[in-house]
Subunit: 370 residues, 2 copies
């Protein structure tokens, strides 16, 4: 019997304190008791997002929240810029096409972030772009982007900035208000170590004005309806109550640890894993790595075999590559409530032996120092 | 300390056997282990729906599944008929308007079902209607409708039949294939005694053809994408894994009890509550009552006070009226895993005393016989 551990960049392991809340008797969602929980959760989400903007919770995966942002903030035919650096940021292109936007797409090699200068050039040579869409941390490649600069450029050109922060929230500073991010999107099963099923988005005043003049057909994802119920802690449709209660518990744990400490822990784990991976002879994919996941390149043709050995031999589940990186990379997850000892567990698995070689050997002394 | 009980027509009480599954370690959704659970759950859903059609699970409330049905099955400007007999069936009108359908609406007094003859007349005098939308059991009034006849009429005129079965599944026979229901929609927090957050819909071959030629913008609710992943037990987006696992546990319990017995139990509870309510001097709202909820009319102005007394004095939470029935009715819920003794608990609360009067007195001898 092998104890199974989850080290994927979402869903992440859900600690017992959060799991436990979901086995409590169900609370009806149209009660003051539940509304108070929602208000507590959204208040705590605002702190993680460093924003005074409302943080609306949706019963849908992160893709649903992305759709809600795009549908409510744009009009059909409107010009938009998508910064696509991997599978998840490219989802904005698919959404923009589905909703008939006039979309311009900037791309990089998978493994690199977008250079802000290219965004500046694109905005200059294409006047009239109303909204810029991208991801802060691109989960498919483990790359972090300079969304602060993107946002400054977007606003300089009169556009709004919409950021998928699904795997950057809790792992990095997401300074929503200071960076003027009009929408930041998050998901429960990532840095918030809660099961999947709910997502959330912060909405700036400028974004709210756009919502009021929205033209796409919209019903379930109508953010105007959601915002009208927001102050009361209410929702237009039946919410996934148990998941919201679980999320609130996780947010209380994040509050207790302190957001700065949470981010510091992610930074330390990510750095340690990168150094350990290098010591193991694994090349790193990301030129600017994020703190959510470390994408490594094993010898050609070996990625899937190595992943299978980690899972079958040691119970350590990590993720493979997606899209053009399928079968080529391994993504080692360190997003969520993981400590240094968990990183040892994960990174010792590829060694293929826990008896003959102490896993700690692969870590240089500096691996986990901040 | 009062033990709190939930007798609302959804969410309903979730038994421990189902709650317990959600405190287990999280399973990654992109694994054969999880896909096998999804296939098990959808197979069992098909049995409850009496259909060979695929039963697609969505991470969204029932409203999301309604939107998915309408968006995927119609084209902008297409003619549709909405049979609106209360707040929930009227949601089809709102959805049809949001998506720019050419919608005709048939209405009744809230408390009555639609007469099939009126549907026949409407279809005859309005050729070209492509889709008929309604609810089987209207939760806001506790009314059951003859969707079998509606469906026959719809198909006679070349239209498809889409049915919100959110509160009829498990409480009534929903004979999807024999009645030729093209789409039947359900929700986890109703007859399936699972927390809210997921919904599902069965999709006939004729509906599937429509989906392939769909014209509305669609992404998160794209049923074509969902159907392509369906056979593998996979989903286009991250699903609410814990809720699907919980639903599957509930479906196993339904299978164990046997669907016929489940429906018989609902029929018996509903009949008992109606007789008991009459014995208490409460008038019934529904001319054709459903087995999910019994809507009663207390003396004018007394509904909310009575409801508060039930909740504060006896821990029994029931629902009030919605829309035009706000403050006028009480809805006594008997949808879910409730037995005869639970009905005694619920119906004894309005008496206002558990010491001086044995609640059993209010039940005529015939109340719980089948």
């Amino acid at each position: 019997m092998i104890r199974r551990r989850l080290f994927t960049p979402g869903p992440v392991e859900v600690p017992w304190e959060v799991l436990e809340t979901m086995s409590r008797p169900l609370i009806h969602h149209r009660t003051e008791e539940f509304r108070a929980i929602v208000r507590g959760a959204t208040g705590r989400l605002q702190k993680v997002m460093r924003t005074k903007n409302p943080a609306v919770i949706l019963t849908a995966s992160g893709t649903g929240a992305m759709e809600a942002a795009l549908v409510n903030l744009t009009k059909p035919g409107e010009k938009a810029l998508v910064i696509s650096i991997g599978k998840f940021s490219d989802r904005w292109r698919e959404l923009a096409n589905a909703y008939g936007l006039d979309v311009m797409v900037l791309e990089t090699r998978w493994g690199d972030p977008m250079d802000p200068q290219r965004v500046e050039d694109a905005m200059k040579s294409n006047p009239g772009i109303s909204t810029v869409f991208t991801a802060h941390s691109e989960t498919s490649t483990g790359v972090l982007q300079d969304v602060k600069s993107f946002s400054r450029i977007a606003h300089d050109h009169g556009a709004l900035m919409v950021v998928d922060g699904i795997t950057s929230l809790c792992a990095h500073v997401v300074d929503t208000d200071n960076w003027q991010l009009d929408v930041v999107i998050g998901g429960s099963q990532k840095g918030f170590f809660t099961p999947p099923g709910i997502s959330f988005l912060s909405i700036s005043d400028a974004a709210r004005e756009r919502i009021e003049r929205s033209r796409h057909p919209v019903y379930y994802f109508d953010l105007d309806k959601a915002l009208k119920k927001y102050d009361d802690g209410d929702t237009p449709w039946t919410p996934a109550a148990t998941l919201i209660i679980a999320l609130d518990r996780a947010l209380q744990m994040i509050e207790e640890e302190g957001l700065d400490n949470v981010i510091r822990r992610h930074t330390r784990n990510a750095k340690g894993v990168r150094l350990a991976a290098k010591a193991l002879g694994l090349k790193l994919l990301a030129s600017i790595p994020c703190n959510a996941t470390t994408a490594v390149l094993p010898k050609e043709g070996m990625a899937n075999a190595l992943r299978a050995r980690m899972e079958e031999g040691y119970g350590v589940k990590v993720a493979g590559g997606q899209g053009e990186l399928k079968g080529k990379i391994i993504r080692l997850g360190h997003l969520g409530l993981y400590g240094e000892t968990d990183m040892y567990t994960m990174i010792s698995a590829p060694r293929g032996s826990t008896t003959s070689t102490l896993p700690v050997r692969v870590f240089p002394a500096s691996a986990f120092s901040t």
